[in-house]
């Protein structure tokens, strides 16, 4: 799994969801269960991944669990690239 992809996703999450005052997050910070990304706002992350990697993630795979950390997201996206 590419480290580069992890960094790209992490950077997107920071830009998209964190406010200036929020603390730092890592590859394994729980995003959705940790209250950083509400499941309501997840769609932009899904769209970003689809556009960036030219893939289509079916809704039933885009679950809050599969999107909960940067590492998990990268695993999911990797599966579509093969």
């Amino acid at each position: 799994m590419s480290e580069e992809m992890k960094d790209i996703v992490l950077e997107y999450v920071i830009e998209e969801y964190l406010e200036d005052e929020d603390e730092e997050i890592s590859y394994d910070t729980p995003l959705i269960s940790g209250g950083i990304v509400d499941s309501f706002s997840m769609v932009s992350l899904k769209r970003f991944l689809e556009n960036r990697y030219n893939i289509s993630i079916p809704d039933d795979l885009a679950t809050p669990e599969a999107f909960d950390t940067v590492t998990k997201i990268t695993v999911l996206v990797d599966g579509f690239l093969k």
């Binding site: 309501f40 769609v43 932009s44």
Partner: protein, 415 residues
């Protein structure tokens, strides 16, 4: 077996969890009319206490205005108590259509449709006008009723950071492939009291061919030079495609709401919006009261001018005392305390001093953002505000938070 022990236990555990988290809501019983001075029973069973109300949405002080009450009486006599029907069967009186026309004129739109409440308007409008080919892009701090409306709609949904126009623009670009795009915001945000940047939002919507939706519940009647709402303040009258607002706040405070805007949107709602089609019509007595409110507001701007003066006076008073406030220029003035328990303690102490103002904390506002939300009314006189300032000063001293920064308060009380 109906309500078995097993079922009861599940609910009791849920309720206990709310209590243990310290967020169990207890209601205070008001024995008087809604006004600046009210008589309250709290806690339940206690003797009546006279307090100054600093947390009603009674912005224009019209909730118990004699002319409004009189008009309601007349409406009751001439049009009866109830209609026992939804609008499209036999629930539409001449005065319902008259109120729709008057709201259209007041808001400067093309047409208006009444709903039982603004909650219903927000819950019904998106589903009525969008499909799965479309996208809704909402500010992250919109009111809960809008969130519910979005949930009920099959269109794609995305959010932008609160009032962040660059972020909104990036979202409009991201979703440019969608058939219809709607940008969704509150006019005045109810918890923070700040205004959406409607001039910039209109420009962005024009650039990207998107519609603009504004919930002006905390603005209609008093924001803008003649009180039309946030769109008047920002010079974009006639440019908001969909406005929702309530009659349950400044406009007499009884109940009811509406969707006002482009005529095709309004007609779509009349044909398709489920809370409109499947819930009873607004009672004639309420319609008559709101019509009188519009008469009063169209005559002159005295009330909204007084509200503006009162709000300035209050904001300056609290600032001089040394409280941390959310910035803004609306009658919603949040006094920031950050810690949830502190907000409860301060609220209780204020009540003992004769000031009724409620503490808000997570999940109503974000974690670490607990506050006392004060709301000013044209029904307040300077002596009310002075008495309230005195009480805030006294309690602020007690907790040693006057003149302290956000950081210092958080260090003392935690988040």
């Amino acid at each position: 077996m109906s309500f078995s022990d097993k079922i009861r236990t599940i609910y009791q555990e849920q309720l206990n969890a709310i209590s243990e988290a310290g967020i169990f809501k207890k209601e205070r019983f008001i024995h008087s009319r809604q006004a600046a001075d009210i008589e309250v029973e709290y806690p339940e069973g206690a003797g009546l206490k006279k307090v100054i109300n600093m947390c009603a949405n009674n912005y224009l002080g019209l909730s118990s205005h004699p002319e409004v009450i009189q008009a309601a009486h007349e409406g009751l006599d001439s049009r009866g108590y109830g209609m026992s029907s939804v609008r499209f069967i036999c629930g539409t009186q001449d005065i319902h259509r008259e109120l729709e026309a008057r709201m259209t004129e007041f808001l400067g739109t093309e047409d208006t449709i009444l709903f039982p409440s603004c909650m219903d308007a927000n819950a019904g409008v998106f589903e009525a006008i969008l499909t799965d080919q479309d996208v809704m892009i909402s500010d992250r701090l919109v009111h809960a009723s809008i969130v519910d409306g979005i949930r009920l709609c099959s269109a794609m949904h995305d959010t932008f950071k609160h009032s962040n126009m660059d972020h909104l623009e990036s979202k409009l670009q991201l979703h440019s492939d969608k058939r219809l795009k709607v940008v969704i915001t509150d006019g005045v945000f109810s918890m923070d009291g700040d205004c959406a940047k409607l001039d910039e939002m209109v420009a962005l919507c024009e650039k990207y061919d998107a519609m603009l939706f504004v919930d002006d519940s905390h603005s209609t009647g008093f924001i803008g030079k003649t009180g039309r709402g946030t769109h008047e303040k920002f010079g974009v009258l006639g440019k908001i495609d969909i406005i929702t607002t309530t009659f349950g706040k400044a406009l007499g405070g009884a109940s009811g709401g509406c969707v006002s805007g482009r005529k095709e949107i309004v007609e779509r709602c009349r044909q398709k919006a489920r809370p409109y089609l499947f819930s009873n019509t607004i009672a004639p007595v309420v319609v008559s009261g709101v019509l009188k409110v519009l008469d009063i507001l169209s005559g002159n701007t005295e009330r909204r001018d007084k509200l503006e003066r009162n709000s300035d006076y209050w904001r300056k008073g609290l600032t001089n005392a040394g409280f941390v406030l959310k910035e803004g220029d609306t009658p919603i003035v949040p006094v920031m305390l950050f810690n949830a328990k502190l907000s409860q303690d301060v609220s209780n102490d204020l009540y003992n001093e004769g000031i009724y103002a409620i503490g808000f904390f997570f999940p109503v506002v974000a974690k670490g953002q607990a506050r006392i939300r004060t709301q000013i009314s044209a029904g307040h006189e300077i002596h009310h505000l002075d008495k309230a300032l005195e009480a805030f000063n006294k309690i602020g001293k007690k907790y040693d938070i006057l003149g302290r920064s956000k950081q210092e308060i958080i260090e003392m009380y935690g988040l």
